[in-house]
Amino acid sequence: MLSMEKYQELRTFAHRIRGETLRELGSLGFGHIGGCMSIVEVLAVLYGAVMQVDAADPEWSDRDRLVLSKGHAGPALYAALALRGFFPLEMLQTLNQGGTRLPSHADRCLTPGVDMTTGSLGQGLSAAVGMAWGLRLDGSPSFVYTILGDGECQEGQIWEAVLFAGNAGLGNLIVFIDHNQQQLDGWVQDINPLGELRQKWENFGWHAQDVDGHDTAAIYEAVLSAQAAKGSSSVIVLHTVKGKGCSFAEGETMNHHMRFTQEQMEQALADWEKEGETLL
């Protein structure tokens, strides 16, 4: 169980990731705001309580890995990494600038702390399976985490990996699905529905759980339970809201990649600050 202090700390960390991500995207005036906002809590749990990583030694061989398979949410990951000390917070303002180390899609060759290059949806899960399998061969204690989009789960490659890893029983692999119900063109339900995700993965032989993806304590508990399932690959379906906590994005249908005005961003940051007061 998470102590009250730790719980408070994770909520605060999530809040800070959200704020830094808003400011980071705010510097550009456009970006993948929706899918960044929905993974803030899982990033807070991973980098605030779960993952063994060393900001001073990003390449440490026994570290836990994260593959951000929905690579377009790079800006949220960068905010978490900066807050964990992998690079200075000011660097967030270089997002997408020519020559930057922070491109819109996650890139292991450019950013300290990023473990895999993604952006072409569907590939990250397979790469995570490869990492988990390879680390298991070495008897490594490391875990491999990966975050998928639900729209991304329409890719055939996802289901190839699900079949393979279900059979391989990779106890060191923990997959999150950001089930925010939306994709680029709108609602998953209207485009090509996925059905019951947890059930589907269970049928492929996975240890599978459903969790409120904005509840850090619940996510933390689910990770512990996934870690305990030693003989199986694990999936945690995060029920989330696309654009969560960004006032001009949350609740909008077309909130995947947005252009916004400075006023909208200022308002969003003011709302974010007010939200912060409820944490105290």
Partner: protein, 311 residues
């Protein structure tokens, strides 16, 4: 906006011909085909994020007499669903139409993973495949019916945004034929896509320096207008190619092959020099990859130096 011209022409075709179908893979608000869903609800489908499935399914539709246009970013057509395009469409002789948006550096802020600098070259190596990049609204308007009704599979690059108009209103372009936009006898610039406007700017600058440079729009990469390449080689004796693409296997390579076959003359190739894309604004990337009018001017000067040494 090229996108609006495309949608306008496509709507006309769809109204006239019920066989024309539109497929998209969760980028229909990006390429604008989402607007067609309301007009033709039964003939426009968003398959979701699954390009490979979309392309083979398009082949199946073509096998029963439909004319499917499959849309995704250019990078995904060339990389993600290449086997499907190769086998289900090209090898099976099913005339699927592949529309790839955000070509080359226009992928801009989406960065390297989304920046196709090899798509034309990859598609060019697929037998049967017609490979084309309409340069501006006039060309797109004139070429789209030819593309839709081509009896072979087609890969078409499509810019979404505003592009400079380089062809006069009423231009009747023919798939497979280049268009001479500006005549000259000192050298020829054979350009495609974004680079046609840069080539015209370069020719203009060179004119100030007393040089007469021909500019040709080579919008069809395959079949390449070899007769026109030959003519430029014979009449101007020096050639520069300019493309929003890798110089490997793209326009520069295709022209080099033709010159080697028919009429070797000095050649300089402006384009991306065997490297990955990067994130940044289109202007930044044009500079970074040495694709500006100024870079073309430099290439023309170099090629003229080589031509002089030969004579």
């Amino acid at each position: 906006m090229m996108r609006d011209v495309y949608l306008g022409c496509l709507t006309e075709r769809m109204e006239e011909d019920p066989r024309v179908l539109v497929l998209g893979a969760d980028l229909m608000h990006s390429d604008g085909t989402a607007t067609l869903q309301d007009i033709f609800p039964r003939r426009v489908v968003n398959v979701g994020v699954q390009e490979a499935h979309m392309v083979s399914m398009a082949a199946g539709l073509a096998a029963v007499g439909k004319i499917p246009l499959a849309h995704t970013f250019a990078c995904f057509h060339a990389r993600r669903s290449l086997d499907q395009a190769y086998i289900s469409a090209a090898y099976a002789r099913l005339p699927v139409k592949l529309i790839g948006t955000d070509p080359g550096i226009t992928a801009a802020f989406n960065g390297a993973t989304h920046m196709p600098l090899e798509d034309m070259g990859i598609m060019r190596s697929v037998p049967e495949m017609i490979v084309v990049e309409p340069t501006d609204p006039e060309l797109l308007r004139s070429l789209l019916p030819q593309i839709i009704y081509a009896s072979q599979p087609v890969y078409m690059r499509l810019y979404r945004k505003e592009v400079p108009a380089v062809h006069p209103v009423g231009t009747e372009a023919v798939l497979g034929r280049g268009i001479v936009l500006r005549d000259g006898s000192d050298a020829s610039i054979l350009a495609s896509g974004l680079m046609v406007a840069e080539a015209l700017a370069a020719a203009h600058a060179l004119r100030q320096q007393g040089l007469q440079v021909r500019v040709v729009d080579m919008f069809t990469l395959k079949p390449l207008d070899r007769r026109l390449v030959y003519q430029c080689a014979v009449e101007t004796g020096a050639i520069v190619t300019a493309e929003n693409h890798s110089v490997i296997n793209g326009l520069g390579a295709a022209v080099a092959e033709t010159l080697a076959d028919l009429m070797p003359v000095p050649l300089e190739r402006v384009g991306v020099q065997d490297r990955f894309g990067e994130v940044g604004s289109p202007d930044f990337l044009m500079q970074r990859f040495h694709m500006t009018a100024g870079d073309i001017v430099g290439a023309v000067r170099r090629v003229l130096g080589r031509k002089r040494r030969l004579t």
